[in-house]
């Protein structure tokens, strides 16, 4: 339970850090004059309110320290992380290589790899599925929508 609370507190710290960045980035804007408010006022108001919420949430969590954070989070383990992490790495590679490698081989390889990570079996279904999905993407985007891919 304390691990969950620590994870929650870490997220709240990230939120407070985002609010701090907003204040830092909008600090140089000129101040309001005769109703014309500065371009930084609105983002600062939103970020300030967000930071206040984060502080209240942190206080509530700390007051329940040791009693459980009150949130049933999904357990982080190898099994639940493997597929999302694999998919994230593959998507990052796809975005990086998009435009550098022609669409058809890149997409076919990506679909095949994603299906493999997601556990599609047997091989025949995997290959057929990848072929159909790639063809569908190509026909939809390149032929029907005339997108330059």
């Amino acid at each position: 339970m304390q691990t969950q609370t620590l994870q929650e507190l870490f997220v709240l710290l990230v939120i407070m850090a985002i609010a701090a960045v907003v204040f830092w980035q909008t600090g140089e804007f000129s101040e309001a004059s005769s109703g014309q408010i500065s371009p930084g006022t609105f983002p600062r108001l939103a970020a300030g309110a967000m930071a206040v919420c984060a502080v209240i949430k942190a206080v509530v969590l700390l007051s329940r320290w040791g009693q459980g954070c009150g949130i049933a989070l999904t357990v982080w383990n190898r099994e639940t992380l493997l597929k999302p992490v694999g998919a994230s790495l593959l998507m990052s590679a796809y975005v990086f290589l998009f435009g550098k490698i022609p669409f058809l081989p890149l997409t076919a390889g990506f679909v095949l790899a994603v299906f493999l990570v997601f556990g599609v079996r047997p091989w025949r279904r995997l290959l057929l599925g990848a072929l159909i999905a790639t063809t569908f993407m190509y026909v939809l985007f390149a032929r029907l929508l005339s997108i330059a891919i």
Partner: protein, 512 residues
């Protein structure tokens, strides 16, 4: 009235009607498949529809939006796995009916009740849209800013279990919406020197990331290994279904009223409407007011029909704030409003005046989509039931490619794929830690509306902040915001009292 007739002619034009039907069939298909949702389908469809004329594009989007509400019932009844959250209550009575060999009857009832609920709520919504639309053009900038803030607060408070997390998500959406050149002064804000961000965060890529990529990442790590017994669909009699609908007309009307009323409130979605109407049927059963010899939970047809009518009736209710004020009630309507902006249109009080053709066409299409969904459901009932056997991992993998290429297709810029990916990661972590993704999406869409009206109101009054409290509309909004805040404080105090009384900490489940 003249615009309404023109809109009917436009929607009934064969190409548009075919697109509406296609959208309905697509929506049904998405609804049938567990793991795919209405916002996900709409997010992926927007880049595809972007190449069409605005009216045609909205035929597809609206058809899909309405179709998903009905489609969710298929897997809820046959597998006890709701295709969409809206159909969760449907499974309670629908699946027991299917298990005792009445799957066809249950599906027929669900499809018909959805049609009745959706159509009646639309009939209620049309005159209300007209009346509210007339008054909406007189609403001041301060009022609009306060309505926007109220909508965000309502979504944050009502859509999840944790109000503070909902608020933080909505506020993060507001902050992200301010990235880019300030529209009044032309000053770059929060761009970190990245010139691609000068035009702001691309809404479509962000939405695709939040609703498609994030959902796949979450779903693929949570694919259930526990299989529910799958019932076989058998045939149903249309005449018998109509007779049953007539017998339970009062329950259908109550379900429709609940759905229509809740649809107007931002943040209270179809799932809440479904559960509330199910609770109504349950109460009737407890009091012995239902003419059935079965106990609730054993497959009472009324307990299936009421939630289905209610979750489809939400579409009519949600139409009112969406079209008259530009306030979306959930992720799906936020995406449709975003699509309007992509077409260079400004949703809000002036929408009916500035773009009457499209505005009335959307209104008409929302009603006719119930009919096209009914026809599509009756035509495709067999193939859709067969599709339930499709490999979910393969389906989710394909959605990832569609999402990435779709985000590129909207502007032919690979940088938008990167934005979609980053928002996908953000959505994944938000979901993991129980932060509301629809609240963030609503913050993104309402951010520019709230900010521009907030600044305009202050400019007109030379910086007098009291302008946000002086008009009746603003004052009512302010009081409602205060009451939501008071409810939140009351909940915290009550929870602490329970804790100190020795009941232990309140365990809430984040809506994973």
């Amino acid at each position: 009235m003249e615009h309404l007739f023109t809109a009917f002619a436009s929607v009934l034009f064969p190409v548009n009607l075919a697109l509406l039907f296609t959208g309905s069939a697509l929506g049904l298909l998405v609804g049938v498949l567990p793991g795919l949702s209405s916002p996900m389908a709409l997010a992926i469809l927007v880049p595809v529809a972007f190449g069409m004329e605005p009216v045609s594009a909205f035929m597809v989007l609206i058809g899909t939006y309405v179709g998903t509400k009905t489609g969710g019932a298929f897997s809820a009844i046959l597998m006890r796995t709701p295709g969409t959250p809206a159909a969760a209550a449907t499974a309670m009575e629908g699946h027991p009916m299917a298990l005792r060999g009445e799957a066809g009857r249950a599906l027929g009832l669900a499809i018909s009740a959805s049609f009745v609920g959706g159509t009646l709520s639309w009939l209620l919504a049309v005159p209300l849209v007209g009346v509210i639309g007339t008054y909406a053009v007189r609403i001041s900038s301060a009022d609009l800013a306060m309505i926007g803030i109220l909508a965000l607060t309502a979504v944050a408070s009502l859509s999840g279990q944790d109000v503070l997390k909902g608020l933080m998500a909505a506020l993060l959406g507001l902050v992200i919406s301010t990235i880019g050149l300030d529209e009044l002064s032309g000053t770059p804000r929060l761009t970190m020197g990245i010139y691609q961000l000068y035009g702001g965060v691309p809404f479509l890529a962000a939405i695709i990331g939040l609703f498609a990529i994030a959902t796949v990442l979450v779903d693929i790590s949570e694919v259930s290994v526990r299989k529910q017994p799958t019932a076989q669909k058998n045939s149903f009699s249309l005449l018998g279904t109509l007779r049953e609908m007539w017998i339970m007309r009062k329950i259908l009307l109550v379900g429709t009223a609940i759905g229509s009323a809740l649809g107007i409130v931002p943040g209270v979605g179809s799932d809440t409407a479904g559960w509330l109407s199910y609770a109504y049927v349950k109460r009737l059963a407890v009091r012995g007011l239902l003419k059935t010899d079965r106990k609730i939970g054993e497959g009472v047809p009324e307990g299936l029909a009421a939630p289905e009518a209610a979750n489809n009736a939400v579409t009519g209710g949600a139409t009112i704030p969406m079209l008259t004020l530009g306030i979306p009630g959930d992720g799906s309507t936020a995406i449709m409003l975003g699509a309007l902006m992509l077409f260079g249109l400004q949703p809000g009080p002036m929408f009916f005046r500035e773009s009457p053709d499209l505005a009335y066409s959307i209104l008409v299409a929302l009603g006719l989509a119930n009919l096209t969904t009914l026809v599509a459901a009756l035509v495709f009932i067999r193939p859709f039931v067969a599709i339930l056997k499709i490999d979910r991992a393969m389906l989710l993998g394909s959605v990832l490619v569609l999402a990435l290429v779709g985000s590129y297709a909207s502007s032919n810029a690979s940088y938008e794929m990167l934005i979609a990916l980053l928002f996908g990661f953000l959505g994944y972590f938000m979901h993991r830690f129980g932060y509301s993704i629809p609240a963030l999406a609503l913050g993104l869409i309402l951010g520019p509306v709230i900010e521009s009206n907030f600044r305009r109101a202050l400019l007109i009054t030379r910086g007098d902040y009291l302008v946000f409290l002086t008009s009746p509309v603003s004052l009512v909004c302010f009081l409602l915001i205060l009451s939501l805040a008071a409810k939140f404080c009351f909940d915290i105090i009550q929870s602490r009292r329970r804790q100190s009384a020795g009941e232990g900490p309140t365990i809430t489940t984040s809506n994973h």
